[in-house]
């Protein structure tokens, strides 16, 4: 059996309900969910990380969230509320599942920003908001991007489940392939899913490196400020 058969058929690459549309749907779910999660998690995380209050909430939340089965939640939400206009329910469920990793990343990033730098900033007379925007946030960025990265991967994977809950996305290839006993179709779904996940991961890791370089620039011409061992 040629498992690549489905992918190789050009008919599958254009037209409704086929690969390009499904890919876009999947990306749309992912992007929307991550953006919603970030919209909530970033301000909340900054507040918690900057003031230091509520960190217990965050650790409890992330521990609890790991224990939740994503499939059960997706089905529950759809059973209770249907998929909603434009699959908004699905997006929201995905966002809720993406919230813990982003929140944890923002909190640890902001709280973990170079303490000496933050202290100096306060001492120089920066207001709380300035300390956050000029010092804590830039220094927190690398870790935040890492959090976004793992959240994105999680959402890409979970978004596949949407198709099983009457939604769209690459999962459709798995659903249909299973119903039609068409393994090449399922394989196509799996391969595209993997490719999408890897591509997004690489993209975000590149962004993460950029953020890290901005947070801690190290010019190649100046000698490293690390003491050479005697």
């Amino acid at each position: 059996m040629n498992v690549f058969a489905y992918l190789q058929d050009p008919a599958h690459w254009s037209g409704p309900g086929l690969i390009p549309e499904l890919l876009l749907q999947h990306l749309a779910y992912t992007a929307a969910a991550v953006l919603v999660a970030a919209a909530v998690a970033v301000p909340l995380g900054i507040a918690i990380g900057h003031t230091g209050r509520g960190s217990a909430l965050v650790t409890g939340l992330s521990a609890g969230a790991r224990a939740l089965p994503s499939l059960g939640l997706v089905f529950l939400a759809v059973m209770l509320l249907g998929t909603g206009p434009g699959d908004v329910v699905l997006v929201l469920v995905l966002a809720v599942l993406a919230l813990p990793p982003v929140l944890t990343a923002v909190v640890t990033g902001v709280a973990g920003a170079d303490r000496a730098a933050v202290h100096a900033a306060r001492a120089m007379g920066m207001t709380g908001g300035q300390v956050v925007s000029r010092v804590e946030w830039p220094l927190a960025l690398p870790r935040v991007v890492t959090g976004l990265r793992s959240a994105t991967l999680q959402v890409v994977a979970t978004a596949t489940l949407a198709a099983f809950a009457s939604g769209g996305g690459l999962g459709q290839l798995l659903v249909r392939g299973q119903a039609q006993r068409d393994y090449p179709q399922m394989f196509a779904g799996a391969l595209l899913l993997a490719a999408l996940a890897v591509a997004l991961d690489l993209l975000l890791s590149g962004l993460g490196r950029l953020a890290a370089r901005r947070a801690r620039p190290r010019s190649r011409t100046s000698p490293a400020l690390v003491a050479t061992p005697a």
């Binding site: 003491a227 050479t228 061992p229 005697a230």
Partner: protein
């Protein structure tokens, strides 16, 4: 005895950490490698227990090359204190200390007994034995690291900045503990530090390394302080080296004078410096002429039998009257006083009597140092005759002599007494023995030296 024979180490990325090091570490003595960051001290140290292998030259232990021994067997015979201690966080203090003994196959009970003994020797309570390193303070951790290195009673001990993390007070205690241990069992010790004071305090022999990995000079601490081979060593050893060298001159050389002594501050006449002591004849302070019954602070004191001229001079400088109060080592009882002038006179006397000790360990240094100095001036490469040595040092003291020694105010008071009431059996300003060479010659010598070495 450990011998470095033209040892060099160049790392894979091209850094030359150690260059052509030839050095002998005599058995049972402490050799300190000192230098600025990057001088290669740690690397040289780690070549002895083969954590690092030399890229050129070889190291011999009692005549046989290190390479001829199996590494693990070698290391079990050499104690090692890593930079930062390197205690195993996952093992208790007692287990840490017992690491090498248990590797050597000692029984558990013997290992534990030995570990507890060592806790005593390094000054830690036995109660800490079953704690984890994270539960100890830094000074305590460093002591445990030291105990661990000594556990199997190794003949050789390597120490890499063992006391670096401690604050000065703790460090002094650690130095004392270390010297006591070394006194009770003389081991061959090689120690790396960046702190010149530590090198001078602990070393029987000090080797100064340059930032590029070359050996600049090796010798006894006193020799380094008094006769630095070149301007690098002089600069590294510090501008206070003249003052530091006073640590080697005993205070017992001083002739002490006396002052009136009272128990009750109110009972003394205010016309001369009078010392107030307690019931055990320990000095408490000076009678304050301004307020009847008031006591002025004592300042520092120096121990007469075991102290050094450095501590005596410090006592003189901190005393309100410029009079150093000497006390007995046992009991701290008042033993007499000395003026700063008397102390400086004693210094001059000591220098006249002092001859540099022959340093057998000073290997073929001459050609080495000449190369290192890059065509050094003949004066620095050849041992100077005593007279010229004195001249250089006296030239520095000229600067000191120009300022009124001690508290000018105090001397004003003494001057007022015109010597009749103050019963001081000491030399006065103006009584110093003149130096053999005139001032002009001294300046000339210094300038040629500076030009010749030119670093």
């Amino acid at each position: 005895m450990i011998e470095f024979e033209s040892v060099g180490k160049t790392f894979r990325d091209g850094t030359a950490a150690v260059v052509d090091l030839s050095l002998v570490v005599p058995t049972g003595t402490v050799t300190v490698l000192v230098g600025p960051a990057g001088c290669g001290g740690t690397t040289a140290l780690q070549m002895v227990n083969r954590l690092v292998e030399p890229t050129s030259g070889r190291i011999l232990w009692d005549g046989s090359p290190l390479r001829s021994r199996r590494r693990t067997a070698l290391r079990r015979q050499i104690g090692y204190v890593a930079q930062g201690g390197g205690l195993f966080p996952h093992r208790t203090v007692v287990d840490n200390i017992g690491t090498v003994p248990s590797l050597l196959g000692w029984t558990r009970s013997k290992t534990r007994r030995r570990a507890l003994e060592l806790l005593d020797s390094v000054g830690l309570e036995r109660g800490l034995a079953d704690r984890y390193p994270a539960q100890l303070g830094e000074g305590q951790q460093q002591r445990v690291a030291l105990a661990r290195a000594l556990a199997a009673d190794p003949p050789v001990v390597l120490m890499d900045e063992p006391f670096a993390a401690a604050d000065p007070a703790v460090r002094r205690e650690l130095h004392t503990s270390f010297l006591d241990l070394q006194r009770s069992t003389a081991r061959t010790v090689l120690l790396v530090t960046h702190d010149v004071d530590e090198a001078v305090a602990l070393g029987d022999q000090v080797a100064v390394l340059q930032a590029d990995g070359h050996l600049a000079q090796v010798g006894s601490p006193q020799e380094l302080l008094e006769h630095p081979a070149d301007s690098f060593v002089a600069g590294f050893v510090g501008r206070d080296r003249g003052y530091r060298a006073l640590s080697f001159a005993p205070a017992s050389a001083l002739d002490l004078g006396s002052v009136p002594v009272v128990r009750d501050a109110g009972s003394a006449a205010a016309d001369r410096p009078t010392l107030v002591v307690d019931a055990d004849a320990r000095p408490v302070g000076w009678v304050d002429p301004a307020g009847p019954g008031e006591v002025r602070p004592l300042g520092a004191t120096f121990e007469v039998e075991s102290g050094t001229l450095r501590s005596a001079l410090d006592a003189a400088l901190t005393s309100p009257y410029g009079l150093a109060v000497g006390v007995s080592a046992a009991g701290g009882r008042y033993a007499g006083v000395a003026t700063a002038d008397a102390i400086l006179a004693a210094v001059a006397q000591a220098r006249r009597e002092h001859r540099p000790e022959p340093v057998p360990v000073r290997e073929p240094a001459e050609p080495q140092e000449q190369q290192a100095a890059g065509g050094a001036h003949p004066l620095t490469a050849v041992p100077l005759p005593d007279a010229l040595d004195d001249a250089e040092d006296d030239a520095e003291d000229d600067g000191h002599r120009a300022d009124p020694p001690g508290d000018g105010h105090a001397y004003a008071e003494l001057g007022d007494e015109s010597g009749q009431d103050v019963d001081l059996d000491v030399l006065r300003p103006g009584d110093e023995t003149p130096d053999p060479l005139g001032a002009d010659d001294e300046t000339a010598i210094r300038e040629t030296e500076r030009a010749g070495v030119g670093r």
